[in-house]
């Protein structure tokens, strides 16, 4: 048993025996562009096992490609290259394999892939491995179906050899291979024989009409059992022999640096191993969390605030308003918007703003760094393998392959764990280095760190002037966006910033779907010391609010119904039309409601998926209101797992509703005011509306569902509040005047 094995044993005792027992046979290699075959499948390295608290892996004998392993015990393990952070990858991706393999759903297990961009890159991201942009299912759709189909063909070939019958006469159903002459074998019985065959060069995929699992109800989440009995392994739960806990005291103001550390008292606490300045603050390393926490209380730090930020939200907003008076970098220009507005029957002008937001995942950021004989091992809810591996290799002066990454379940992320600067991973590395001992270290951020030490959805300001003709039709739309770029200074800059326009700042606005003959969108991207990052639905988290509220204002100015008005302007967008009509119909749009209640609508496309929502609100005296019901219609192409889609629509909407009603990180004098859930309020169950989800039937390739429900709810609620009160709310969170 290696050291690694013992350490795994310390975490999940049952898996260790299997690791020891496991024997991998040399499986064949073959081509198949989408399959990434031609890879080494030798003895299974320990790195190929036990991620994300996966169920104990079976004795595996048949591993035809990088994504499937079939054990003699009939277990089919699907290697999932994408992080499971709640969005359902450990269910959706195995569905694709199980379908083509004709496996029974209850024999399927999911296991996280190691960092290995050659095998596990995101096909929509080129050569990078990572999870984001609602791409997991879309980029895996063909790849994993092929992986399952290849395995099926090999099992069939093995059976044909054994029974001396033509392969064409063999059937596979629910994990059983059979022949009409009475032969029958379970996958496990054929696994060893199949492993001796070469992977077929020609892989046949099913006609979607034959699907038995894809698109069907009743496939329970693979991670349900472990997440309801306490056994699912998150980074917070990693336990290793000798593991120490690191807390970091971060500067209270952005841009401040450590000047002097007063640690005499803190160092005197038994169990405190080390206190040291690191680039991002002061690291406290102790035998456990509580000891480190006590040391943190005993520690005093003088900060050098020479370069510290002095502005706050109020000053930033004032600066943005000034900037909005001058033209920015052009993101899109059609026709002559100035002439169109000059000649319009009516011009409506509005300013929309959204605040900084924390991701506030339930699991505060954390990361374990462990020394190995080859380099280091990282235990993390890993969302961006390629970037993090390279960043850590640089810190440790190692080759990337010497940085082994164990992808564990993430207790939420909402974008936070795919940090382009690898911020908390590098901080964990610095803590490990500061320790100057070969012992594993777990960096644990407190909730206060999570709120105050960064990485926020940026504050944005939108100014829109739009004109309509005498019939109410929009003739010109002039939109200016001001806000920090989340891409500037990152490795993504060459791809995502073109002609000074960060595409993620304007997505959802530059592609406004409504027919407007004259259109201009420009952008200012001021630089500020506030660390900013993508947040579930990225640019759409603010552009949908501005755009969908403005179109509502135009409908009002035109004296037209908000749904009818949109439908007329969406003629070239069948998917928008489809979801809008469906949501309106299911919500009973147009049917009378009691006094004090009203409906609002919004429709928006992000990441290739189109979502419409109708929100029903009740407004009480004094400006209190409640969102009672939300009807959601979604078009995400072929619905692979209808229930996962429904869950993402419900939860994604709830995440957006949290920001719409409550979310705000406020900065004063360079420091974040909020610190924990008492002052950064998030949605609780008592404000969760009833939700109905309707999925548009489609045979188009599947697109993602993790993000697209999030941006739609804020404008739907704002528009509903207008319908009841006549007040246009143009900044988030939504607050009605009494």
């Amino acid at each position: 048993m290696t050291t690694t094995d013992r350490q795994i044993a310390a975490i999940t005792p049952d898996t260790i025996e299997n690791v020891g027992r496991r024997t991998f046979l040399e499986a064949g290699i073959a081509a198949g562009a989408g399959l990434l075959l031609g890879l080494r499948i030798g003895p299974a390295p320990a790195t190929d096992t036990d991620h994300a608290g996966a169920a104990p892996a079976a004795a595996a004998t048949f591993a035809p490609n990088a994504f499937v392993r079939i054990g003699t015990d009939d277990t089919v393990t699907v290697i999932v290259k994408h992080l499971e952070m709640g969005q359902g990858t450990f269910t959706g991706l195995p569905t694709l394999v199980a379908e083509e393999l004709d496996a029974a759903w209850d024999q399927i297990r999911a296991e996280g892939a190691p960092a290995d961009a050659a095998r596990y890159n995101n096909l929509l991201w080129g050569s990078a491995q990572g999870t984001g942009g609602s791409t997991a299912l879309a980029n895996s759709y063909e790849q994993l179906r092929k992986a399952g189909a290849a395995a099926r063909q090999m099992l069939v070939a093995a059976a044909a050899q054994r029974w001396q019958v033509p392969a064409a006469d063999i059937q596979v159903k629910d994990g059983v291979v059979s022949h009409h002459a009475g032969h029958s074998a379970r996958f496990g019985e054929l696994a060893e024989a199949a492993a001796r065959l070469t992977v077929p060069a020609q892989i046949r995929l099913k006609d979607p009409a034959q699907f038995k699992l894809i698109g069907k109800p009743g496939l329970h989440r693979t991670d349900g059992p472990s997440k309801t009995d306490g056994s699912a392994l998150f980074t917070q739960d990693v336990r290793l022999p000798g593991l120490l806990t690191a807390l970091v005291v971060h500067p209270p103001r952005f841009g401040a640096r450590v000047k002097r550390i007063h640690d005499t008292e803190a160092r005197a606490i038994p169990g405190v191993e080390r206190i040291a300045g690191i680039p991002s603050g002061v690291a406290i390393i102790a035998r456990d969390f509580w000891t480190a926490r006590r040391a943190q209380d005993a520690l005093r730090v003088d900060w050098d605030e020479t370069d510290a930020m002095t502005e706050g939200t109020a000053e930033i907003l004032a600066r943005y308003r000034e900037l909005a008076k001058s033209p920015g970098a052009i993101a899109r220009r059609d026709g002559d918007v100035d002439a169109a507005l000059a000649g319009a029957a009516q011009v409506i002008e509005a300013e929309y703003s959204v605040p900084y937001l924390a991701h506030a995942a339930m699991e505060p950021m954390n990361c374990v760094i462990e020394p190995t004989d080859q380099g280091i091992r990282v235990w993390n809810g890993e969302q961006f393998q390629t970037g993090d591996q390279a960043a850590l290799a640089k810190v440790f002066e190692l080759a990337p392959e010497q940085v082994e990454i164990r992808m564990l379940f993430a207790g939420g992320s909402f974008g936070r764990r795919a940090n382009p600067a690898s911020d908390y991973l590098i901080e964990a590395a610095h803590c490990y280095q500061a320790l100057r001992a070969r012992l594993p270290v777990k960096l644990q951020w407190t909730r206060e760190d999570d709120m105050r030490a960064g990485w926020y959805r940026p504050l944005y300001l939108h100014r829109i002037r739009a004109g309509i003709d005498p019939k109410g039709r929009p003739v010109g739309w002039d939109q200016r966006i001001v806000g920090q770029s989340i891409i500037a200074g990152t490795a993504f800059e060459p791809m995502l910033i073109t002609d000074q326009v960060d595409q993620t700042s304007v997505e959802g606005a530059a592609n406004l779907p409504y027919t407007v003959p004259n259109f201009r969108l420009d952008l200012h991207s001021p630089r500020l010391p506030v660390p900013v990052q993508w947040w579930r639905s990225v640019g759409s988290s603010h552009t949908a609010f501005a755009g969908e509220c403005m179109i509502d204002e135009l409908a009002t100015a035109a004296g037209q119904d908000p749904v009818a008005y949109r439908l007329r302007l969406l003629k070239n967008h069948p998917r928008h039309l489809g979801v809008l009509k469906l949501a309106a119909e299911k919500a009973g749009w147009g049917q009378p409601l009691p006094k004090g209640r009203g409906r609002g609508v919004a429709v928006h496309e992000s990441f290739g998926t189109t979502v419409a929502q109708v929100a029903e609100v009740t407004v009480r005296k004094g400006g209190q209101f409640r969102v009672d019901r939300v009807v959601i219609a979604v078009d995400c192409g072929l619905a692979v797992n209808p229930d996962v889609i429904r869950a993402q629509m419900e939860g994604g909407m709830g995440f957006g509703l949290s920001a719409a009603l409550l979310g705000e990180i406020r900065i004063e004098h360079g420091a974040v005011v909020q610190s924990n859930f008492h002052d950064y309020q998030v949605l609780r169950i008592d404000r969760m509306p009833e939700v109905e989800v309707h999925i548009v039937a489609s045979a188009q390739p599947p697109t993602g569902v993790g993000e697209p429900a999030t941006p739609v709810i804020a404008p739907a609620v704002a528009n509903a509040l207008f319908a009841v009160t006549g007040q246009r709310l143009r900044s988030l969170p939504l607050r009605l005047s009494p």
Partner: protein, 159 residues
Amino acid sequence: MLTLRINGTEHQLDLDPAMPLLWAIREHVGLTGTKYGCGMAQCGACTVFLNGAPVRSCSTPVSVAAGGEVVTIEGLVQGLGAGALGKVGQAVRTAWLELDVVQCGFCQSGQILAATALLAENPDPTDAQIDAAMSGNLCRCATYARIRGAIRRAADALV
């Protein structure tokens, strides 16, 4: 030395009496289903039963729990817990699986314990009662609609 009885097993531990019960359970007993989410009783991820009542273990000093009966998610799903708790807990977990409530899963131990506490006291709660009882347990994935549904389903199963 203090004695902690967790899921029916006694542990003799030499700990700072002010240490929150959460960290004793997680780091010294080694049961990690109980989570740290906020450290100030705002999120509910650290919920455990102490002598049959749900408490926020992040804000309960371990000295308060010494000598008492602690049940965590790991014990609850095995049917442990004073009175009807174990039986209710298993029904709650079954409903959770049937409705596929979980997403990221990090808060769900706390949600299941809070739901169990509710149903043990009120076998047929209204939606308003569910909301009141569960509003101390945050879920950033916003699985709330399914949590309501699973509590109703567990209530039906327990009749």
